[in-house]
């Protein structure tokens, strides 16, 4: 195994302590509940017996280290506890709602990358031009937009005023039936089922929330692309390439852009962090039946097991995404895992 293979393996192994840390923090959060955690977990309608039962399942009568071991073993079995509001295991709830969130997030990210990366490149190659000014404005305005507010404004304009958007309630208008579940992604499932009408309806529902999220993530990506591209363009190797008479296209894309991509990919990690958070807000605004709105409902109902299960699974998802980003990085950067990087 070469240096890179070893470095890749090391990167994968590095995720383990992080996951452990995440679990520890989750555990602390569940035990930091004010008053008696058992009372909180049992909910408002709890009886003495149900509180006692919760106390036993959580091992709250045992010392903390023992509780942690119990917590770990429950996690290992995929047991995130019971949701009070739905009465089902939290894991089942999350699993059934995750595709909705993922579909929204991925479409939004794709949308925002398609706009922001070219915008950042254009701005960097024409510093001071109108594209550059536009980029600066978008970047500063974009990070200033509260996602939930953008969503509300978009609904007002496209649903109430123009009437071209469907009512902002969920993934599919009630006149349509959910496509047969294969992946849980409505766009894919309806396409698989060959149901063009449902596909289009799902897309219509998706556009506004996806745009809301995309607007939010546009700014950091465009900003990073522009900065990375500028710094790549002022690097010495660009001067070498120009002195060798290479064409503008080759210099911009073959040399500058590939190098600029590295910091942009790294930024994606941060963007995922923002987007998973913003997701919660957007889902609430658009009544999107994903895990974000599930968490908000759980919060309102003081459904602690559901909330903490949500926090933990989002963290694990994020760790996984970061791992994927780093592995993607290792593919583009030959220096990965060597002393030079």
């Amino acid at each position: 195994m070469g240096a890179r293979g070893r470095a890749t393996l090391v990167r994968v192994l590095q995720a383990i302590p992080v996951i452990f840390g995440v679990i520890v923090i989750s555990f602390i959060l569940t035990r930091a509940l004010p008053g008696d955690p058992a009372v909180q977990f049992a909910g408002a309608m709890a009886t003495d017996e149900s509180i006692q039962q919760v106390r036993e399942t959580l091992g709250l009568d045992k010392p903390l280290p023992q509780q942690f071991v119990l917590y770990l073993s429950q996690l290992a079995q995929g047991d995130l506890g019971q949701s009070l509001s739905t009465g089902r295991p939290v894991l089942t709830d999350l699993a059934s709602r995750l595709p909705a969130s993922l579909e929204l997030t991925l479409v939004a990210l794709l949308l925002s990358c398609l706009v922001s990366v070219p915008l950042g490149v254009l701005a960097a190659t024409r510093p001071g031009s109108w594209v550059d000014q536009l980029c600066r404005l978008l970047v500063t305005a974009g990070v200033s937009l509260p996602t939930f507010f953008t969503g509300v404004v978009l609904i007002y304009i496209f649903y109430y005023l123009l009437g071209i958007a469907p009512s902002p309630l969920g993934r599919l208008d009630f006149v349509y039936l959910d496509p047969p579940r294969v992946t849980g992604f409505f766009l894919i499932d309806s396409a698989l089922a060959g149901d063009g009408e449902t596909w289009f309806a799902a897309l219509r529902q998706l556009i506004l929330p996806a745009c809301t999220l995309a607007l939010f993530t546009l700014a950091p990506i465009a900003r990073m692309t522009r900065a990375a591209m500028l710094s790549a363009l002022s690097a010495d190797y660009i001067r070498t390439a120009r002195a060798a008479g290479l064409t503008r296209g080759k210099i911009l894309y073959g040399y500058a852009f590939r190098n600029a991509l590295l910091p942009v990919v790294t930024t994606l990690g941060m963007v995922f962090s923002f987007v998973l958070g913003a997701n919660v807000l957007v889902e609430k605004v658009f009544a999107w039946p994903g895990i974000g709105s599930y968490a908000v409902e759980a919060l309102v109902a003081s459904d602690y097991a559901a909330v903490q299960g949500f926090v933990l699974s989002m963290a694990l998802l994020f760790v996984l995404l970061n791992l994927v980003i780093d592995l993607a990085y290792s593919v583009i950067d030959p220096r990965f895992g060597t002393a030079a990087k």
Partner: protein, 539 residues
């Protein structure tokens, strides 16, 4: 072949337009090797960028003509220039590692140029790229083709840059400080290689450098530039023996060379007799079997492998070696910024190695051992004025306060030749030489008797280097200090030092009186170092 007439280049800056090149004219014949020599800010690099029309966005050719083989370089279309670059005129840059695309295989970078200028097709590009690598004498070229720049040494990277520049057989090669950042032996190897290729292919070349010695060794004719203008041109020998312009004379004088004394570096009218410094028999510092081993990622790194030497009172010892030889690690240990792994550092009989570097700041011996740092810019706190920087050690280590403190700071400024009105300036408002003076004033403030000079002139232009070296010699005589002068440049070291130590790979390979080491080196490595240093023709 190349004719430049009254070239003027201007840059837009915040403070308005700055003229970087102000009316430069010269001719270059086929097969001629021209050197453009000047100190920083002389406009020598800008001249070459203007020729290639690769000036920065704010820069433009204001006036003048540049004609290459009948082509008007100033007015040629951009696409014509693109065809010219790399095929007719090529360029080699300083800092070779940065000059290569870090994430593209070097072979592909050569192919890019070959393909661009239709010197290779998709099928034979690889073979031709390997041939180009072989042409710059890279061993095992086929394997190197697959390498990324980070996998190659600095000298190897510069060879690749050469291969790119020479791949399409240009007629003119422009070299912009091609050896900056390379060790002296590598520098020689690269320059010899390029010179051979230029001669063998009958190319013309322009070497842009600050080093008059280097230019005189590799050029047929030299142009000396100052403040955007040419002050003198001629063949190297004549330039050295009969410099016409006062600036050329100053530059020639300031270039360290064999047989010259430290005073001879200064312009004739400023040469005062050298003050004698007495070397006593009592040792001030004895280093015994000093070892430093780091814990690296792939096992222990032996930076210093047991060095021993003695410095006597009043003596100046030179510590010479190329990068990575352990000289900086050694000096850090001596100045007590770094704890040795084992060994003794006896300062007047006290073993400093037993005092941890963490607590040494408040040790009574702290004022006695001080250091002048390599980069004057980096070693001054950007938020402190010169006065604050010089006063800092006095405040921490002496009871001087108020008027007494101010008087002492001004005395130090006088000693180091820093005009008193500059004391309230911040580092960015001072020139390189002035910053060097502040650094020296700060080092001698607490009245040390042992001073480590860590390449104190490496970042300075030669004329300022001459002044600073002389200042250090004067201070040594008036204040009676002992020096450990750390440097990569034997020619500079011999000017100031009585005794020379040569290090390689963490060990001392040769030590002895300066004259002996310089004139009759016993170790082959020392001989290689001496041979690699460019030699100016004797004046």
């Amino acid at each position: 072949m190349l004719s430049i007439k009254d070239l003027q280049v201007a840059f837009k800056t915040r403070k308005g337009e700055v003229n970087a090149v102000r009316g430069v004219s010269f001719e270059l014949a086929r097969g001629e090797r021209l050197g453009i020599v000047g100190e920083s800010g002389s406009g020598k690099s800008v001249t070459s960028y203007a020729l290639m029309r690769i000036l920065d966005a704010g820069g433009r050719i204001k006036a003048g003509d540049a004609v290459y083989s009948g082509i008007d370089l100033r007015n040629a279309s951009e696409s014509a220039m693109k065809d010219l670059r790399g095929r007719e005129i090529s360029m080699i840059f300083q800092n070779p590692r940065a000059a290569l695309n870090p994430i593209r295989k070097v072979g592909h970078q050569i192919e890019d140029v070959l393909r661009r200028h239709a010197r290779a097709s998709r099928q034979d590009a690889r073979d031709k790229a390997i041939a180009a690598l072989e042409a710059v004498r890279i061993n095992d070229a086929a394997a190197r083709y697959e390498a990324y720049p980070f996998e190659l040494s600095g000298g190897m990277c510069q060879r690749v840059v050469c291969a790119i520049a020479l791949a399409c057989d240009p007629k003119l090669l422009i070299m912009d400080e091609p050896t900056t950042g390379l060790d002296i032996t590598t520098q020689k190897a690269v320059m010899d290689l390029v010179d051979d290729l230029v001669k063998a292919r009958g190319m013309s070349s322009i070497l842009i450098t600050h080093d008059l010695g280097l230019a005189s060794e590799y050029c047929d004719r030299i142009v000396v530039m100052k403040d955007g203008q040419i002050v003198e041109q001629g063949d190297p020998k004549a330039l050295f023996t009969r410099p016409q312009h006062p600036y050329t004379r100053k530059l020639v004088d300031a270039t360290p060379r064999r047989g010259a004394t430290i005073r001879a570096l200064l312009p004739a009218e400023e040469r005062r007799p050298e003050l004698p410094h007495a070397v006593k028999d009592t040792p001030i510092l004895e280093v015994k079997d000093l070892v430093k081993t780091y814990q690296g990622k792939s096992g222990p790194v032996h930076a210093v492998k047991g060095v021993s030497f003695t410095i006597h009172e009043g003596q100046s010892v030179g510590l010479v070696g190329e990068s990575g030889c352990g000289k900086s690690t050694t000096s850090s240990m001596l100045v007590r910024l770094l704890d040795p792994s084992s060994g003794q550092i006896l300062y007047r009989g006290t073993d400093l190695a037993t005092i941890p570097s963490d607590g040494f700041a408040r040790h009574p011996l702290r004022p006695k051992i001080q250091m002048v740092f390599q980069d004057a810019t980096d070693s001054l706190n950007p938020r402190h004025s010169a006065r604050q920087s010089i006063a800092e050690p006095l405040l921490r280590m002496t009871p001087l306060r108020g008027a007494l403190l101010a008087a002492r700071v001004e005395e130090l400024a006088r000693l180091t030749g820093l005009p008193a009105h500059l004391l309230d300036r911040f580092p960015h408002q001072l020139s390189g030489g002035q910053k060097a003076r502040v650094g020296i004033a700060r080092a001698i403030a607490p009245d040390p008797d042992f001073l480590i000079l860590d390449e104190p002139t490496a970042a300075l232009d030669v004329s300022i280097q001459a002044v600073v070296l002389n200042l250090l010699a004067d201070l040594r005589a008036t204040l009676g200090m002992s020096y450990l002068f750390v440097s990569h440049d034997l020619n500079v070291v011999r000017l100031l030092c009585d005794h020379v130590i040569v290090m390689k790979s963490g060990e001392i390979i040769e030590a002895g009186p300066a004259e002996d080491v310089m004139d009759a080196p016993s170790h082959p490595y020392t001989r290689a170092l001496l041979a690699a240093a460019p030699q100016a023709p004797a004046a």
